[in-house]
């Protein structure tokens, strides 16, 4: 029962955090999934989740679990995304996934607390703003390149029937400024004397999700999960203050302009994940030897903002005839909302008192939210047809040390992007027409211990 005490304490801490007003949550598992079992089911996991991936798919399910679970695994997805048959060498996704699930009980109701982590091998996060015209597979540029740390809390409302849960994802916004002060010699560089100061803040932000799990019978499970939108920004500012002089190397420089200023700001919002609402249903056989599930996910891509930096430049050089023309603001991407459909199922291949071998598979279809790119922008995307295939091995009562099941899940993932042809209204467009296509191939493994 010790872990139930721990879970109770953790739950109180989580409740305290949840009591504060918060923005939203999202993460790169939107694209490829979290945990090997979920990958094998092609993301059809809202109503079936029983591991750390509940942090993403359905936090409420944490309150329906009986065992403390420790899970660790790895995911690798290698993209081959092409324009006109040439591979753009888009970065892959590879990193450690894992988590801890702590069930407990408060005032006669089951609770569950969990933490999950996706730790990329290459970079914790990436924010970059490419030139507006540069073609890029916009959903796979920055979105999968980030660390995911989520915590969740779930509560059983009606015993064995209704559960609710909520989760938080932690991220960092970046705001930085470079301040330069001094004097600029109009004629002689040696007379220029500038001092600089750099101030960069990584501000913690939190993004929530919430879900409901309903299990009206032993066989039937329904899930409803809300994931709020998520939009990391990178704000940079350059401020230059000073005098413009002649004779800066002398003791008595002649000022041309006093208190001249140059202010450059760049606002970049390109790590976006849409608001989502996922509705899932599953049927589990009486003896648990097979299950099937379906899920539809609404994604509000219409809120997607341009990933191109908005740059403003303001120059005040007094009476000097100097000016900087304004830069044109980036165009609106014009994305639209989509509904993603998932189907999946599992069946026992072997089931004995100590060994269980499970086969699983799934498929999903995700229409592209990106419109045709007939003007300046080249936010490339295509529909996605994904397939998951996996095996799960569970060993039970193998030793007195591990009386609860020890398991290893291994899954393969393949996502196909059918060819999509982009043409331009302007025949002199710098990029011109192109054909986008590609696929992703990957796998995931998860080792899980129950205690």
């Amino acid at each position: 029962m010790t872990h139930r005490v721990i879970a109770g304490a953790a739950a109180l801490l989580a409740l305290a955090a949840l009591a504060r007003p918060l923005p939203a949550r999202a993460n790169p598992v939107d694209a490829f999934g979290m945990s090997a079992r979920a990958v094998g089911l092609a993301g059809t996991y809202g109503a079936l989740t029983d591991d750390f991936a509940a942090n993403y798919y359905n936090p409420a399910a944490l309150a329906s679990l009986d065992d403390m679970r420790l899970e660790l695994g790895y995911i690798l997805v290698d993209p081959t995304l092409e324009l006109n048959g040439g591979d753009l060498d888009v970065d892959g996704v590879n990193g450690i996934q894992g988590g801890l699930v702590l069930p407990g009980e408060v005032w006669g109701h089951r609770i569950g607390v969990s933490v999950a982590l996706y730790l990329p091998d290459d970079r914790l996060t990436r924010l970059r703003a490419l030139p507006e015209r540069q073609p890029r597979f916009v959903l796979y540029d920055n979105r999968p390149q980030r660390l995911v740390l989520t915590t969740s809390l779930a509560l059983e409302i009606v015993p064995d029937v209704l559960y609710i849960g909520a989760g938080l994802t932690y991220l960092s916004d970046t705001k930085g400024s470079l301040d330069i002060t001094g004097q600029v010699d109009f004629e002689d560089a040696d007379g220029t004397d500038l001092r600089s100061a750099v101030d960069v803040d990584f501000q913690a932000v939190r993004y929530p999700s919430a879900s409901i799990l309903v299990t009206p019978t032993e066989n039937l499970r329904f899930s409803l999960t809300y994931r709020a939108p998520f939009d990391l920004s990178l704000d940079l500012r350059l401020d230059v203050h000073g005098d413009i002089v002649i004779g800066g190397t002398t003791d008595d420089p002649v000022p041309l302009v006093e208190d001249a200023t140059l202010a450059v700001t760049s606002k970049n919002a390109n790590l976006f994940s849409p608001r989502q609402l996922a509705l899932g249903a599953a049927w589990v056989a009486d003896d648990g030897s097979w299950d099937v599930a379906a899920e539809v996910v609404w994604q509000q891509w219409s809120e997607f903002r341009s990933p191109t930096a908005r740059v403003t430049i303001a120059l005040d050089a007094g009476s000097l005839p100097l000016s900087v023309p304004p830069t044109a603001p980036p165009g609106e991407p014009g994305f639209h909302d989509i509904v993603v459909t998932h189907l999946g199922g599992e069946v026992d291949l072997v089931r004995t008192a100590h060994v269980r071998l499970i086969a699983r598979g799934g498929v999903f279809y995700e229409p592209s939210p990106a419109p045709d790119q007939r003007d300046k922008t080249n936010y490339v995307d295509s529909d996605k047809i994904g397939f998951g295939l996996g095996l799960g091995l569970e060993l039970s009562d193998v030793t007195p040390v591990f009386p609860k099941p020890i398991g290893l899940d291994v899954s393969a993932l393949y996502i196909h992007l059918p060819s999509r042809t982009y043409t331009k209204d302007d025949p002199a467009d710098p990029v011109g027409a192109y054909v986008a296509s590609g696929h992703f191939a990957g796998f995931a493994t998860t080792l899980h211990f129950a205690f």
């Binding site: 660790l72 695994g73 790895y74 690798l76 290698d78 092409e82 324009l83 006109n84 048959g85 040439g86 591979d87 753009l88 060498d89 888009v90 970065d91 892959g92 590879n94 450690i96 091998d121 290459d122 970079r123 990436r126 970059r128 540069q134 073609p135 890029r136 597979f137 540029d141 023309p325 304004p326 830069t327 044109a328 193998v398 030793t399 007195p400 040390v401 591990f402 020890i406 290893l408 042809t421 982009y422 043409t423 302007d426 025949p427 002199a428 710098p430 990029v431 011109g432 027409a433 192109y434 054909v435 796998f443 493994t445 998860t446 080792l447 211990f449």
Partner: protein
């Protein structure tokens, strides 16, 4: 603890299985990818051919070279250019170039009394040349024989009207028809680019003026400014291309000028008549006068040749190449 120690290997083995890919995969990625093999239309930027400051081709002593025309062959590139000798005779000379587009070997002359050559292939692979007749000032057409020499057709393709000058033809095969773009000067007006077309009978008929000097340009702040080609547009070189979407395109490099010194720009059209200017013109902006662009694709590289006048006594052919990304148009 004894039990734990005994079964720890099992747990560690399973953990190793789950994480086995991690060390080997940690080296992947991390190079800010996504920018390889981007589509390249071959419009620019152009890196000057590495000639140590020399011209790609200089005229004979006392003579002059005119506007080039480039043709891609299996063996590389052939340049055609009119050469004026010290004695004043004019002839189109073919220069064979190697695969890199810079090693030139003189061949010819292939046609006498002709300026501003433009060479194109017909549907059967035969070579045709449009040129300006040095004697009459009309645009003529000539056909290549088996020996590589061209024979001029008796009838002119485009006769200049009264008070008109025609120059710098660009011949292109477009399906079952021939297209002829050329510089047209009417009276004291600024030079424009016009088009005539013909069937296999080569009876060219005037179609339209397809490009006029630039106007309506605005700077980044939205204020009106003088276009870089506000003074004149001339010396077109039009290629009929197909892009990766299967669309037919008409690619035009041309000379534009505000005043006397010219730079090179690009325009394109879906119908061959309505041309849209490239937003980042001019594509070759030099401190010397440029004229007569000629564009060709060789493998994954694009080459652009031109005539440049560095001073009153130094002129000849120059060129640049563009090999960024993956070529996205065939011509």
């Amino acid at each position: 603890m004894r039990h734990l120690a005994r079964h720890l290997p099992l747990a560690l083995t399973l953990a190793a299985l789950a994480l086995a890919p991690a060390p080997s995969c940690a080296a992947l990625g991390g190079d800010d990818g996504g920018g390889a093999n981007l589509p390249n239309r071959g419009i620019g930027p152009w890196d000057a051919l590495d000639l140590d400051g020399a011209l790609l081709l200089s005229p004979p002593v006392g003579g002059a070279l005119g506007e080039p025309s480039a043709l891609a062959d299996d063996g590389g590139i052939r340049l055609f250019v009119d050469e004026t000798s010290d004695g004043g005779d004019v002839a189109v000379v073919a220069f064979a170039a190697g695969a890199d587009g810079t090693a030139l070997t003189r061949v010819g002359p292939v046609l006498a009394g002709a300026r501003d050559p433009s060479v194109a292939r017909d549907a059967g692979g035969g070579l045709w040349m449009a040129y300006v007749d040095d004697a009459t000032g009309a645009i003529g057409v000539a056909e290549a024989g088996a020996d590589g020499a061209f024979t001029a057709r008796a009838a002119a393709a485009v006769e200049p009207g009264a008070d008109e000058v025609v120059a710098s033809p660009s011949l292109a095969r477009d399906g079952a028809r021939w297209l002829l773009y050329y510089t047209l000067v009417r009276g004291g007006d600024a030079p424009v680019i016009a088009r005539a077309s013909a069937g296999d009978d080569l009876a060219f008929a005037f179609d339209a003026v397809v490009l006029s000097p630039g106007e309506g340009c605005v700077d980044a702040a939205g204020a009106e400014e003088t276009c870089w080609d506000a003074g004149s547009v001339s010396a077109p070189e039009v290629r009929v291309a197909v892009n990766e979407a299967g669309q037919r395109l008409y690619r035009m490099f041309y000379r534009g000028a505000k005043a006397s010194q010219g730079d090179l720009g690009f325009a394109a059209s879906y119908d061959g008549l309505t041309f849209s200017r490239y937003p980042y013109n001019p594509v070759v902006d030099a401190t010397v006068d440029l004229d007569g662009p000629a564009n060709v694709r060789v493998g994954d590289r694009f080459l652009l040749y031109w005539h440049e006048t560095r001073s009153s006594s130094v002129s000849g052919l120059g060129g640049g190449q563009n090999d960024a990304g993956k070529p996205s148009e065939r011509f």
